[in-house]
């Protein structure tokens, strides 16, 4: 299992300007000192509420946001800035699936053109599979073949190629987005809330396609979501974010069976369950967690202005990390 | 809010300076100089040179500019050589500014009255005949150059159905201010009404679509579901929301007064600043032209300032702060 992507001390700050001369007075700390590693072939979930910074991390990874400071390394090469990313054609290996299927497909282009776009720029790999480093061709027939092959993988008929996005449903459009992300044999796909905008029944369908692709082609996934239930189904490792920082990180097992941080426990307790008989029990549990959260805040958070700022992550086991006040600090 | 206004006013100062420099340079580019009109073909070159030197015309341009600015700030805009030979420009403009202003203000007010009532009528009767007629009318009046309509209006209401006087401003130095004021209204009304009739499109289009959007909004449905009568909903909620952006447009009407006056005054024979501009340009009276351009530039800046102030004042987000 090799290290694919390593993020070190990533910070993404947005300046706030106030006053008569529009001076920079403070910063919005969207991403506040994050470090973690993505191994090849593994799946990761990034969970948090809106505004926690998870989308910003995804965008910085892919190249749509510029980090304020910190490092991003891809297979040992530094790819923090866009120039560095361009130099190694980074995006042929790291792609993204967007949340809004309506706006992520150009309404004036046919599906064929949309999927072919990354192929036109990075070339068609000779066979499908992550980690392919060999020949790439820019031949138009090869591109067309590949587009048809991709559509088949996501379960859409061949005549889709000549149709327009408005002719498809949300779930179908999202599958097209997956096909586009898959086109150049990426090693890592960042999926930013890919099913949040879909009906529940359709969600399962799209998620299953993604799972199938992940297994068959050995692609690493970074799955960003606010929905712990979805993440549990899709990923092997989970990181929980709050206010731009990690509060807990570990395998899916660690998080769901041995949650340590009160924020994690709070999120878990909010997952609705179908078991009606345990309803009162669950409600009592939720209330207890809430009070625990407000009482024990000091042990887990420090104050940064008006924001709660989590402590650094401390390892509990080899895989499990929790943000706790360091002993003796 | 005061902070925004203060910043806005301060920004206007360098803008004013830039505008004045540009206008000054434009004026320099025009052929002819201040002595164009008063030169006698028999004057000898020495006299001409002396006169030019006395007027500072052989100084480098930036010094001339400073001199000019100094003069302007003291109220000296130069002397006219063609329009009214020998009068100071200040006097000419002073004589003609009231008619243009009165016409302009009436026109601005009428424009708002007409556009708003048209928009209300159209929005309440969406897609019915009256709405379609209003849309076609507004499209036509905005696509076709207005002076055509001005001419038609003049022929109609001055000659065919003689309601209004055909030329002049009704202002006479021998009369008192009040007499002049009311007499002027008779002369100013037709041009003002004509201008207003044919400039309703931008406000009409905007307001109508805004009103239609508001009507379809959820909060209107909620109010009606609660039993509120549609006309009350209209008055209390829809109007307020739709009118916010219109209010800030008021400043820009000030900017448009002089420009619109150029055509209207020419067609209607109403000697105000607009007609003055045409006269001065045909006669190459460069001092008058420069002064008018400067006036327009200042009006434009003031108009923009007024608009910004009104929108800052009217913006609910700013008010809460």
């Amino acid at each position: 299992m090799s290290e694919l992507v390593r993020i070190e001390n990533l910070k993404v700050y947005y300046p706030i300007r106030t006053g008569f001369f529009n001076r920079v007075t403070d910063n919005i700390k969207a991403v506040d000192n994050i470090s973690f590693t993505i191994e090849s072939g593994q799946t990761y979930g990034l969970v948090g509420e809106s505004g926690s910074g998870k989308t910003t991390i995804g965008k910085s990874l892919v190249g749509l946001e510029d980090p304020t400071s910190g490092k991003i390394l891809f297979e040992g090469h530094e790819v923090t800035t866009n120039r560095q990313k361009k130099a190694i054609n980074y995006n042929k290996d790291v792609q993204m699936v967007f949340q809004d299927s309506q706006s992520s497909l150009n309404p004036r282009k046919t599906i064929g053109e949309i999927i072919a776009e990354p192929l036109k720029n990075f070339g068609v790999p000779n066979f499908i599979g992550a980690g392919y480093d060999g020949e790439r061709s820019f031949d138009q027939t090869k591109i067309n073949e590949r587009v048809l092959a991709l559509l088949k993988i996501v379960g859409l008929p061949a005549q889709t190629v000549a149709q327009y996005p408005f002719q498809f449903s949300g779930g179908q459009r999202q599958r097209i987005g997956v096909a586009r992300a898959l086109a150049t044999n990426p090693r890592l796909i960042v999926a930013d809330e890919p099913v949040s905008a879909l009906d529940l029944s359709v969600q399962a369908q799209v998620l299953n396609f993604m799972k199938k692709i992940q297994r068959e082609y050995g692609i690493s996934f970074l799955f960003i979501s606010h929905d712990l239930g979805v993440v549990k189904y899709m990923t092997d490792n989970i990181a929980i974010m709050h206010n731009g920082r990690f509060v807990e990180m570990g395998t899916t097992n660690d998080i769901f069976n041995d949650a340590q941080h009160i924020y994690t426990k709070r999120l878990l307790s909010a997952i609705p369950s179908l078991d009606v008989s345990k309803r009162d029990e669950k409600r009592a549990y939720r209330k207890r967690i809430e009070s625990e959260f407000t009482q024990n805040k000091g042990a887990y958070y420090q104050q940064d202005g008006l924001r709660d700022r989590a402590y650094d992550l401390e390892p509990i086991t080899k895989t499990h990390y929790v943000a706790l006040k360091k002993e003796g600090a | 809010m005061w902070r925004t206004i203060l910043r806005r006013v301060l920004i206007m100062i360098p803008q004013l300076i830039l505008v004045s420099i540009l206008i000054f340079m434009l004026a320099q580019l025009m052929p002819g100089d201040p002595f164009y009109g008063s030169l006698n073909p028999n004057s000898d070159p020495a006299t001409i040179a002396r006169m030019r030197h006395a007027a500072g015309l052989d100084l480098p341009w930036y010094q001339q500019y400073v001199k000019w600015v100094g003069n302007v700030l003291h109220g000296d805009l130069g002397t006219s050589y063609v329009v009214n030979k020998g009068w100071t420009v200040t006097r000419i403009i002073g004589q003609r500014i009231w008619p243009t202003l009165s016409m302009g203000i009436i026109a601005a007010v009428l424009t708002y009255v007409l556009s708003i009532s048209q928009a209300l009528l159209a929005a309440r009767n969406e897609n019915k005949i009256i709405d379609r007629i209003l849309i076609v009318w507004n499209t036509m009046t905005s696509a076709v150059p207005s002076f055509v309509f001005y001419f038609v209006m003049m022929v109609l209401f001055v000659y065919i159905i003689p309601i209004f006087p055909s030329s002049g401003t009704g202002i006479d130095d021998t009369q008192s201010f009040t007499t002049n004021f009311f007499s002027n209204l008779r002369y100013a009304f037709l041009p003002a009404l004509t201008i207003a009739l044919f400039s309703t499109n931008s406000i009409f289009q905007y307001l109508r679509s805004n009103l239609l959007d508001q009507q379809a909004q959820d909060y209107v449905r909620t109010a009606r579901a609660k039993g509120v009568q549609i006309k009350d909903v209209f008055r209390k909620h829809i109007l307020r929301n739709a009118f916010l952006p219109i209010a800030s447009g008021i400043g820009y009407s000030i900017t448009g007064i002089l420009g619109g006056a150029i055509f209207a005054e020419t067609v209607f024979g109403y000697p105000g600043l607009g007609a003055l501009f045409v006269q001065a340009l045909s006669g190459r009276d460069y001092t008058v032209i420069t002064a008018l351009m400067l006036l327009q530039g200042v009006l434009a800046l003031l108009g923009g300032l007024l608009s910004d102030i009104i929108s800052a004042w009217v913006d609910p987000r700013v008010r809460v702060k």
Binding site: G63, N91, Q95, M96, F98, Q99, S104, L105, N106, P107, R108, K109, T110, A116, E117, P118, N121, F122, V161, A162, Y164, F166, R180 | Q15, L18, V19, I23, L26, M30, P31, R132, T139, M140, A143, V144, P145, S146, V148, F151, V152, V155, V158, Y159, S166, L258, G259, I262, F263, F277, V278, L281, R284, I289, L292, M293, Q296, G297, A300, L301, G304
Partner: protein
């Protein structure tokens, strides 16, 4: 997907949509028919127009009333046939209008899209410049330039008009581009490795093209209007080149009676002007609706 096939399909779909929109709107249909008839008249009429029509001077047959000597609408004050002069004027006005509109559209689309896409300091500087430009008294400046040049040729007029009036259009294009730039398909194009100019002109532009077309029509009608208005005041084309404006200068300073008795001097010209400008604007609106019609499947 072959680009050629796509272009053909777009073209035929557009025409189909265009007719559909026209059928829906009776008034637009009427305006379009009138406009097409006028266009044909002008184009075919060109054959009959003598090349010296603007400069000929035939005092003997000047100002004849309609239906004398085979002149359907009489003659102008230089003795030329009125109808032929009208044809020449209309085509000149159209050439000017198209020239200006094409120039302005190309310039403002290029700048507006680049400014909207890159934002940042480019945007800030450009907006300050445009705001400043709008403060200047454009109409006056145009009038001044036209008057000092002792009458201009058509191409100089086109250039001057275009160069002085393009900034306001940039604003519109910039706003349109801004609303598209934040949509995810632009982000997706960026990480697909597409270079910025392709994103702008083959990705974003098709999405704003409908408004660009209707804006083109407005600019076209507007420039015909500005040229006509300025020439009417006396500042504009040099003597010998006729446009609809020069034909209307007869209106300035006429007495009431001549307006009645010599109605043919101005009513046909006015009608032509109205049909042209109104028709163009309406066509632009129809075109915009046609392009936006993506709900229809061919």
């Amino acid at each position: 997907m072959d680009m050629e096939v796509k272009k053909q399909r777009f073209g035929s779909k557009f025409i189909k949509n265009f007719w559909r929109e026209l059928e829906k709107d009776n008034l637009a249909l009427l305006a379009t028919i009138l406009l097409i008839v006028l266009f044909l008249f002008i184009i075919i009429g060109q054959i009959f127009v003598p090349t010296d029509i603007g400069t000929m001077s035939n005092i003997l047959s000047a100002n004849l009333p309609p239906l004398t000597n085979g002149h359907i609408l009489g003659t102008t004050n230089s003795g030329a046939d009125f109808v032929l002069t009208l044809i020449a004027s209309a085509s000149n006005s159209l050439i000017i209008g198209f020239g200006v509109a094409i120039l302005i559209t190309i310039i403002s689309v290029t700048f507006g899209m680049i400014i909207g896409y890159f934002g940042g300091w480019i945007d800030w500087i450009a907006m300050r410049l445009i705001d400043f430009w709008l403060v200047m008294p454009l109409l006056m400046i145009l009038a001044i330039i036209f008057s000092t040049a002792k009458g201009l040729s058509i191409w100089s007029l086109i250039l001057i008009l275009a160069v002085l009036s393009w900034p306001p259009n940039v604003r519109l294009i910039r706003t349109l581009t801004l609303s598209e730039v934040n949509r995810d398909y632009v982000q997706a194009a960026k990480i697909s490795g597409t270079p910025w100019y392709k994103i702008l002109f083959t990705g974003i532009f098709p999405n704003i093209s409908s408004t660009v077309i209707s804006d083109f029509a407005l600019t076209l009608a507007g420039s015909i209007g500005i040229e006509t208005s300025l020439t009417y005041l006396g500042f504009g084309l040099k003597h010998g080149t006729s446009s609809l404006g020069t034909m209307l200068t007869v209106l300035s300073g006429s007495s009431a009676s001549s307006v009645y008795t010599q109605w043919w001097l101005w009513i046909p010209v006015t009608l032509v002007l109205i049909i042209l400008t109104f028709g163009i604007v309406v066509l632009g609106q129809v075109a915009r609706r046609a392009i936006d019609q993506r709900q229809s499947v061919s």
